[in-house]
Amino acid sequence: MARPLINIPKRVKRGDAFEIRVLISHPMESGQRRDEVGKVVPRDIINSFFCTYGGEEVFRAELFPAISANPYFAFSARAVETGLITLSWTDDQGVSGFETVEITVE
């Protein structure tokens, strides 16, 4: 799996809200399409996505084939302490991705 694009500020003020944006490269094959001989292309989507910050949950999502290819998510978190933000996801084939980003809280 290709590296995802992640956009998180490096430094934030304590108590402020900040934006986490992530773009994951994935075909998100819906399981609804057919190939040229009429065979259904098997479903292969990222079905779950998790984001934690300092070990506590920020955001979690259960995804369906209605999410576009190369899924993009933007959501917000509250700056509490300097720590690690982890992003992880799993697709239908059991392939998972995992990224961590450090954030400094001033």
Binding site: A17, Q32, E36, E56, E57, V58, A61, F64, A69, A74
Partner: protein
């Protein structure tokens, strides 16, 4: 002769018949019912933001959010999006944890055709809030060949 006509008629129907079954408003109502377990849906609080005229149904920018700050006892636990005429009624279930700053999510979704998209917010006090948008899709998702 008759058989050739039948064959032709069959050939035009076949590629559309299987796999293109669409969800119905009843399927969406059932999915929402499974979520709310019978609790009433109130209009308001949650705001669904999607373009009313979609040129490409393969990637439609969507934001769903509850903008008003709520007391902790009523905080938003999750946001759910449903599409009435996609092959499957569910689009996304999003859950917000203790480190979340606001119940807001932006993503990109697929829309099979012109339809009504429904958002539901589930609050910690057991109430459910909803918003919906009826939109037009000029180029649908799910019909692209490989």
């Amino acid at each position: 002769m008759l058989s050739r006509r039948l064959l032709l008629a069959g050939a035009t129907l076949l590629p559309l018949a299987p796999g293109h079954a669409s969800a119905t408003p009843a399927d969406v109502a059932a999915a929402i019912q499974a979520l709310t377990k019978g609790a009433p849906l109130h209009p308001g609080r949650v705001k669904l933001d999607i373009p009313l005229l979609v040129e490409n149904g393969n990637a439609v920018a969507m934001t769903v959010a509850v903008a008003d700050p709520l007391p902790p006892a009523e905080r938003v636990l999750s946001l759910h999006v449903f599409a009435q005429a996609n092959p499957l009624p569910n689009v996304i279930h999003a859950f917000f944890g203790p480190r979340s700053a606001a119940p807001r999510l932006s993503t990109r979704i697929r829309l099979a055709t012109s339809q009504t998209v429904i958002a539901v917010a589930a609050c910690a006090d057991g109430t459910f809030w909803t918003d919906n948008i009826e939109l037009l899709v000029t180029l649908a998702a799910c019909i692209d060949e490989i």
